[in-house]
Every structure is written in structure tokens, then in C-alpha cells.
Symmetry: C2
Subunit: 202 residues, 2 copies
């Protein structure tokens, strides 16, 4: 594609580096900014720069935060005996939206993936082990809320190995048929797990 | 959705104002920037600001340009007897990509749309009339390359009324079945136009 201006080309190239945005979408977004007032572009770029320059991560759970301790770790209303281990900050937001969990979190920053060169030392695993150790019995349960993928299962297995000498419960979120899902069209692995992980009908 | 940080919330709100980007996509893009280096965000925001601050429009055809005269209007290789009228700069890029057109362009900046409060005076129509007038016979043909919508047709009708007292040809791009399209599934208006606008088989 030939662009009418070097400025457009540079902006399109930068925007197209964002995940899931190709050159065509990037061009549409860039031309939208050109049509809008300059103030709009300044608001957008200021918000992004400000975010990147000032964002912090909680020193305890590594979740995204405005300060060095996140609102969840700071709160007195949370159950400090349970820690839910997740891959990314998005997962914390997703679980918070369910309003079904009142414990604390621990954000690993990814999963073990030898294919992508991510080993246990690239993740926040030592700090998790340290947290459980230092809590001196306050933490009673660690929930592993990782994706049901090869990498997620490998990470869960590794975490279990690192944590099973503590006197804590280690649990994993339930695998099964999603609410609204159709039994007939569920893959056999999920269906199998939904049977082995069956719960009592009360 | 509850965000873990005010900074994230502000960035998501700004990004979600872009066309076709909802809050979920905006969050994904913003968290991607947080994961990347700060330099990446600076490159992106610099490219956007630089674009918005320095972009110019050609004084003749109103296409996006690096200077006050665009590369097409400046070129000595273009056929100066034909002007193709389009809605937006994107349309110029699309037609240039076909390599089927060597004339000049005129970018209206939209189409007449009473529903959206866009009248003839909001578009670059006077400058088009002035261009044809000042060319003193050099411009021999004006091609109307507008979208085949109610608004596009209204604009084409209006332009025809404004230009038909000049000794020029006024043409419109062909309406018909797209290449690779299926006759059976073509709507009747398009099919009808493809019959009335039939061309000789050579």
C-alpha cells in the first residue's frame, strides 16, 4: 500500500504493531485521528504515556496498581487465608467481576512455556513460595486458576511441586462444561474432566 | 468492569473512543503496552502526535499530504485533463492501488447527508467548481467516484448540477457485479444497473 504521506506511513507502522491490528485497521484509526481535532490525539497520547510512565506493580501480588501495594492487598475486607494464582492482571479483573471470590491474588506474569523460552525463573514463582512461607500458617489455601492448556497444566504441576511441603490446601479451578454449553458438542477431554470432577447435587 | 488502576481506566477510555474499538479490545491494547518497554509507547505516541501536528492537506485537491501540494498534483506524469472526485483520502489510496488511473483527484471530505447535518457547504465543492473554471478548458472530464449509497448519489446529482454548464464530460464509475461475485446472489438494484450499464463485448 502506498501512503500519501510519510507521517501517515510512520503512524500506521507503529499502530499496526499492536496485537490484533493489521495495516488496514491501523490506517482507519490513524485517518480517524487526522479527521478529529488535535486535542483528541493529545488526550489519547497523554493517557498512554502517563500510564506507561507511572504504572506500578503491587510488591506482594504483582498485580497492576497505582501504588506499590494494590487495593486488594491493602483491603481489610479480603480473606487473607486464600491466594488465587493467575497468569495475568486481566485474569484478576475477570475473577473480580464474578464477585465470587474474596481472597487475595498472585499474578505470575505468564506460564511456563519452553517453546517461547519462558522458564520458572521468568515468572513470579519464588515470591509466591516466599509469601506462603512468610505467612507462617496464615495462608491456608492456594487456588491455581491457570488456563487449561499444556503450558497452564505444566505450570500448575510445577507450582504443586514447589508448594506441597507447606501445610496448605492446593486446589485448581473446576474444569467442565461452560454454563449454557451443549453436552453433545463438548470435546471429549472437557466432558471426561466434567465427569471425574463431578460435584454432589444438593 | 472494575480496573485495578485509574491510569488503566483513563487509557482504556481514550483508546475505546477510536472507531471499532470497544472497552475489551482497548484493555487488551493498553495491557499490551504495559507489558512492552516504555520506549515502544513513546514511539507510538510520538508517531501519532507528530502526524496530527504536521499533517497537511493539498491546497488543490485536499488530499492528505506532507506539504501544501500533494505528490499527485505536483507530478508531471499525471494526466491533467481528468479529475476523479472522491469522498476521502482512503479512496485516493484505493484507486492508486489499482494502477488503472493516471489523472488527478479531488477529495470532497465527505458526502451530502442531511441526516448527519452535512450540506454542500461543508464539502470542498466550491474549490472543485473553481478548479474546473480556472483550468480554462484543460480539464476535459470529471469522474464521480462516490459510494453507491443514497448520500453518494445525492452528492453526485448535486455535483452534476454544479458542473454541467462547463464544456466537460461528467462520468460516474461503473456499477455492476464485483469480479468474483455470483450473479444469482446479487441484489436486484445492482443486477439492474449492470444490465443498463452493459458494455460491448470486444
Amino acid at each position: 500500500m502506498e501512503y500519501p504521506s510519510k507521517l501517515i506511513e510512520e503512524a500506521v507502522n507503529e499502530v499496526a504493531k499492536l496485537p490484533g491490528i493489521g495495516k488496514k485497521t491501523a490506517l482507519r484509526l490513524v485517518l480517524h485521528l487526522v479527521k478529529e481535532t488535535e486535542h483528541r490525539t493529545i488526550l489519547l497520547t497523554d493517557a498512554l504515556r502517563n500510564l506507561r510512565a507511572n504504572i506500578q506493580f503491587c510488591r506482594t501480588c504483582h498485580n497492576i496498581s497505582d501504588s506499590d501495594e494494590c487495593a486488594i492487598c491493602r483491603s481489610h475486607r479480603r480473606d487473607r487465608t486464600i491466594v488465587c494464582v493467575v497468569e495475568e492482571s486481566q485474569d484478576v479483573m475477570a475473577i473480580e467481576n464474578t464477585s465470587q471470590y474474596t481472597g487475595l491474588y498472585h499474578v505470575l506474569g505468564g506460564v511456563i512455556s519452553p517453546m517461547n523460552g519462558v522458564g520458572p525463573h521468568d515468572l513470579k514463582i519464588e515470591t509466591l513460595v516466599g509469601r506462603v512461607d512468610r505467612s507462617a500458617g496464615e495462608i491456608k489455601e492456594v487456588i491455581l486458576a491457570l488456563s487449561p492448556t499444556m503450558e497452564g497444566d505444566t505450570t500448575a504441576f510445577y507450582l504443586n511441586k514447589r508448594l506441597n511441603h507447606f501445610a496448605i490446601k492446593i486446589s485448581s479451578i473446576a474444569r467442565g462444561i461452560p454454563v449454557g454449553g451443549d453436552l453433545e458438542y463438548t470435546d471429549e477431554v472437557t466432558l471426561g474432566r466434567s465427569i471425574t470432577g463431578r460435584t454432589l447435587f444438593i
